[in-house]
Structure formats: C-alpha cells, structure tokens
C-alpha cells in the first residue's frame, strides 16, 4: 500500500501518528500536573513504527506490545477513552484500573497486552503464532519490542521457536538507540540488530523507522511471508525517543545535540512534507485537529467515569468457568 500517494492511506497514517503524539503529550501533561500517577513511558518521536506496521495488519491479527505501548495500542485501533480511563485509574479503563500504562491491552483488537518485562512478549507472540498455525488459520502476530529486548534470553528463545516451527510472527524491533541509558553502541557488537535474524535462519531487514512507508513496506513483506506459511521475519526500525526513558529520567546519558538532531527528523513533520502532493493543507490540518479533539474527548469521558473500585479487587485474580 502506498501511504503517500493514496489519499485515504495518507490520512489514516497521519491521523494515527498525530493521535499517538497528542495522546502522549496529553498524558505527559496530566502526569506533570499530578493528575495521573504511576509511571509512564512515552514513544514520542517513534510514531511511524506502530502506524506503518499496524496498517499491514487486518482484523483477527494479533500484536504483543511493550512498556512503551501506547502507540501500538492506538495504531491497532483501541478506543482512546478506554485507554485514557485506564491511565486515569478508572473502572471503565481497558483493565479496570488493574493494569495502567504498562499493561494496557485491548483484547478486542487482538492486542494481547503491553508488558512490563523487557522481551516478555516475544515468546508469547510465538505462542499466539503457534495457536494460529495449529488451527490452520492465516492470522499473523506482530511482536513489538525495543533494542534492549534483543539481548534477553526470552527474545532468543521466542524467536528460535517461531523460526523452527515456521510460525506466522513478525518481530518488529523499535531500535530507539537506548535501553534506558544503555546505548545500542555499548550493548551490541553487531552494527545492525537485524543481523541477529541470520542466527535463527530467518530474514532480517533494517529500515528507517521514522518513515512510515519504509516500516509499512518491510512489515507488509514479512506479513505476506507469514500468511503464506513461510515463517517469521525480523524488522528493525531505526528511530529515536525524544523524551526520557520514563518519568525519572534526567537524560544525562545522551547529548542535547543528539536529541535536537533527531527532533529535526520528526516522523510526522517529514510525512506531512512527503504527502503535500497528496493531501491539501486543509486535509493535513484536519488530521491534526481530529487527533487533538479525539484526545480531548477521551480525557473528558474518562474523567467523568467512576474510579476503579477496590471492592472487586479479588474478582479477576482467577478466571471462572470456561475461558
């Protein structure tokens, strides 16, 4: 799919990216004003990856996500009000206030969950792929993770299982250059993380993660392979996180100039320039406004909802009846 020349696709891409950006700016602000608690991992600057990747998926496909998972959840089509309600600790939140930002999930859109454990979702994605493959379905699982995950045992075990069993999984690495403060330069001896694919006998490709089209093309290829029963692939999307790792980050491990240089590479501004020939200025402005309005509305709806209730705290420790 050409995200830049097809007006509908361009609008969808731009709206998704703006929605992620505005959603995260809003939660950043709510947090700073003491109106949201817990911790928060923002993906501002990385919006092209979930937007491009999820456009390659269709209904029934699954994703697994990370501690930095707002973008994945939004790009997969989750409801902003239920997300915001979750972050605001409301009973109407996706997880009834039990999960928060780090465990946000929308099972209805195939989002099997964000994960507080680095690489925790990788073997789970392999398992979802195994379920699909055993049922003879043609659904695909996209597993998102950061560069830090690629050095975890869980990552290696999950990728290997998917590889030996030709499971329909696309492993999408969001290489934003840092695992907390540990830079990829220090954490890896390989130049490109996609090289790791070779060790498992699967294709690996590195793309510009600030270009939704590049991400989309690579993920689409991998999705086609997966649907055709040809097994998993690894897509490394090179991008950058503008904000600190989480709320406690003083950003002492990276130079200001580096952050500035990457802000110049803003995936959204870049995409707006690229689609200038496809979308009118009014169209672009409408995407922005729709995103802003949708987030505002989500905050309004969520704020009006009842707080998560402690009287049912023990309700969902165990599942009852037939799952």
């Amino acid at each position: 799919m050409d995200l830049t020349k097809d007006a509908d696709a361009a609008r969808a891409t731009l709206r998704t990216m703006w929605t992620i950006r505005r959603f995260e700016e809003a939660v950043d602000d709510l947090f700073a004003r003491g109106l949201m608690h817990g911790t928060m991992h923002l993906s501002i600057g990385q919006e092209a990856v979930p937007a491009g990747a999820c456009l390659a998926l269709r209904e029934g496909d699954y994703i697994t996500s990370t501690h930095r998972g707002h973008g994945h959840c939004i790009a997969r089509g989750a409801r902003l009000d239920a997300m915001m309600a979750e972050l605001l600790a409301k009973e109407t939140g996706y997880c009834r206030g039990r999960g928060g930002s780090m465990h946000i999930a929308d099972v209805a859109t195939g989002n099997l969950g964000a994960n507080g454990i680095v690489a925790g979702g990788v073997p789970i994605a392999a398992g979802a792929g195994l379920a699909v493959s055993m049922r003879g379905g043609d659904e695909v699982v996209v597993s998102f993770f950061g560069d830090g995950a690629v050095n975890e045992g869980a990552w290696h075990e999950g990728v290997n299982l998917a590889a030996i069993w030709d499971l329909p999984v696309v492993f999408v690495c969001e290489n934003n250059h840092y695992g907390m403060s540990m830079s990829v330069g220090k954490a890896f001896k390989v130049e490109r993380l996609a090289e790791r694919a070779a060790a498992y006998g699967i294709p690996g490709v590195t793309v510009d993660g600030n270009d939704p089209q590049a991400v989309h093309d690579a993920v689409s290829d991998a999705v086609h392979r997966a649907r055709a029963g040809q097994g998993p692939s690894l897509v490394e999307a090179v991008t950058y996180r503008w904000k600190g790792h989480s709320k406690s980050d003083k950003n002492l491990y990276r130079p200001r100039e580096e952050i500035e240089a990457w802000r110049e590479q803003d995936p959204i501004a870049r995409f707006e320039r690229v689609v200038a020939a496809t979308l009118s200025e009014a169209d672009v402005a409408a995407c922005r406004d729709e995103a802003r309005d949708a987030v505002r509305e989500a905050i309004r709806v969520a704020n009006a909802a009842p707080d998560a209730r402690a009287d049912s705290l023990a309700d969902a420790v165990y599942a009852r009846g037939d799952a």
């Binding site: 997880c95 073997p123 392999a126 969902a316």
Partner: protein, 334 residues
C-alpha cells in the same frame, strides 16, 4: 484404603498421567503437549510414552531446550485460544521459566481486568529420592503457592494424578501440577472414565481420633505407613492430603484438628518459608485453636540442598520412622 469400584484398574501414577493427557486430547482439539523430549523419546520419565504415535508430532510437540520460551509459547497459545500442557523435565528447571510463570501467566488475567485468561497447565516432577542431587531434587511448591493467579496441585496417588490433571486442563487458569518422581512407578486403582478430581479439595485419607497428620506429595504415603505402625501401638491418626495447595481447602483440616486437638504437618521441602508454615498459621488462626492440646508441630526437610549420597539424601527429608516418632511425641508429651 480406597474402595476399588468395578471401573477401576490398577495403573501406575505415570500411566495415570498419560491416560489423562490422552483423554483430554481425544475430546478437545485445543489440548496439546509441549516439552523437551516428550515425543519419540517418550519424556524424561517416560510419562508421555507413545502419545506422539497416537496424536502426532503436531500435538505432542518436542521443543528445543528453552524452558522460558516453552512456557512463554504456552502462555501465548493459551491467550490465543488453545489449551497447552507443558512438561518441564525437572521442576528445578522452572527457575529458567520463572518470568513467564510468575510475571506473565499468573498476572495477565488480573492485569487485564479479566479481559483475557491463560488456560494452561505446567506439569513438572519434583522431589528427592533418586540420587539426582541438589539441582534435580527440589520441592518448590511454596514458590508457586505464594503467587496469586497460579493454582498449584500435588497429586499423591495414581487416581489423583489423573483426576487432578484433567481438572487442571479444564481450568481457565494457569495450573502448576507438581508430580513426584518417586511416585511415577507406584500403582493404584484409577477410574477408566475421565473422572475429575476437583481443584481445591482436601481429602481425608485415613481417620483417627488421636492426632491429625497433614502431608503432601510423597509424604502422604509415608504418613499412611506411619499411621499403620502407630495404630499397632494404639495411636490412631487421621491423615489429610490437601492435594491442591492453592487454593487451599482448609475446612477439613480445621475440622480434623478440632476433633483430635493435635496437628503434625509433614512436607518434603525445607522448613523455612515452606507450605506447612501456611497450614500451621491457618490452623492457629482458626476455631481449631481453642481445641489444640499441643503446639502445632512441623516435620520438614532440612534447610539444606538435597545431597547426592543415599544416606545423606534420606537424612535430608522426613522418612516414615520420623513421622512415627514425631506423632508419638506429640501424643505422649502433651
């Protein structure tokens, strides 16, 4: 002690587990097995046997040696609608998979506010007595029983090995089934039908009025042997087997201790932080407290890793004679 009904045959514990797996797989396409060497090899302890010939490699799935990956794949498959049954070769190796067991399987239903569940089973042999030493002989049930979101069972008979496993496969939650490697070759009457033993039900294996012995796993048969010897001396013991450690069915234990006034709690695992400490606390917090004629007593494995030398290995965990001695002391000293 169990009455042998017409439809029971004698099976070994490991045959009983295999029969449960086969019956579950026959009726439900979603049930499949995942583990190291469970296919043609038949399982490290021979438990899966020839199941691969009956159900094929797709459903009796040999995995690479990667416990974390295996359990993670089971979590994902369960989330996506399957009913995986994982075999971990020795329960000690669950340490490799702890993230997926504790942080993923046990938590997902809760963290998602009930929106999804993880109906999977993890079977693993535990316990000492085979000379396999410290890294292949542990009794780790307290690790799992401590985690909300997990269910934990320890079958002590062949019939329970079958019935509890069938119930575990039905259950919409992650269930840890800790089999005992010394029990695999022991036999007992097992129903032919796919009869479930409900999770969360303590069973009374023997009734006697002088003291209550609560035991788990291989300690149940030792407690029953001890009770026979005690009976010869005129001391009658009740022997209770919780079978499910989490959720614990405490009522029969409380009732029995209320009647006998004495409790001897027997576990193979080391004493400190062990499961019987939980049972002891449950008793003293209950209405049985006022009926106690003696302090609640624990008989546990020593706080040491399991050693190799047979004599040392025996000394590290309670034996029948230790139970006899402990019970006699409890009854005569108080």
């Amino acid at each position: 002690m169990t009455a042998v009904l017409p439809k029971h045959r004698t099976l070994t514990y490991s045959e009983a587990v295999r029969e449960a797996l086969a019956q579950a797989m026959e009726v439900d396409e979603r049930v499949f097995l995942l583990g190291e060497d469970i296919g043609t090899y038949g399982g490290a302890f021979g438990v899966t046997g020839d199941l691969v010939h009956r159900f094929g490699e797709r459903r009796v799935r040999d995995t690479p040696i990667s416990e974390l990956g295996i359990v993670g794949a089971a979590v994902g498959a369960a989330l996506a609608g399957m009913r995986p049954v994982v075999e971990i070769q020795f329960s000690d190796f669950t340490a490799q998979a702890m993230d997926q067991i504790v942080n993923q399987a046990a938590k997902i239903h809760f963290m998602l506010g009930g929106a999804a569940s993880v109906p999977m089973v993890l079977r693993a042999p535990g316990g000492s007595g085979t000379g396999a030493a410290a890294q292949h002989s542990q009794s780790l049930e307290a690790w799992f029983a401590h985690v909300p979101g997990l269910k934990v069972v320890m079958p002590s008979t062949a019939a329970d090995a079958k019935g509890l496993l069938l119930a575990a496969i039905d259950d919409p939650n992650p269930v840890i089934v800790l089999e005992h490697k010394l029990l695999y070759k022991q036999s007992g009457p097992v129903p032919e039908e796919a009869t479930r033993v409900r999770l969360g039900e303590t069973t009374v294996r023997r009734t006697g009025g002088d003291l209550t012995i609560v035991a788990t796993g291989v300690m149940v048969s030792r407690a029953l042997q001890a009770a026979e010897q005690l009976a010869a001396d005129g001391i009658e013991a009740s022997v209770l087997d919780p079978r499910t450690l989490r959720p614990l069915d405490a009522a029969p234990i409380v009732d029995s201790v209320t009647a006998t006034g004495r409790a001897l709690l027997v576990q193979e695992a080391p004493r400190t932080g062990g499961f019987m400490a939980e049972v002891a606390a449950t008793i003293v917090e209950s209405s049985a407290f006022g009926h106690l004629r003696a302090p609640v007593a624990r008989l546990c494995g020593l706080d040491v890793p399991i050693p190799y030398a047979p004599r040392l290995e025996r000394a590290a965990v309670p034996q029948t004679e230790d139970i006899v001695r402990g019970a006699r002391e409890l009854v005569t000293a108080w």
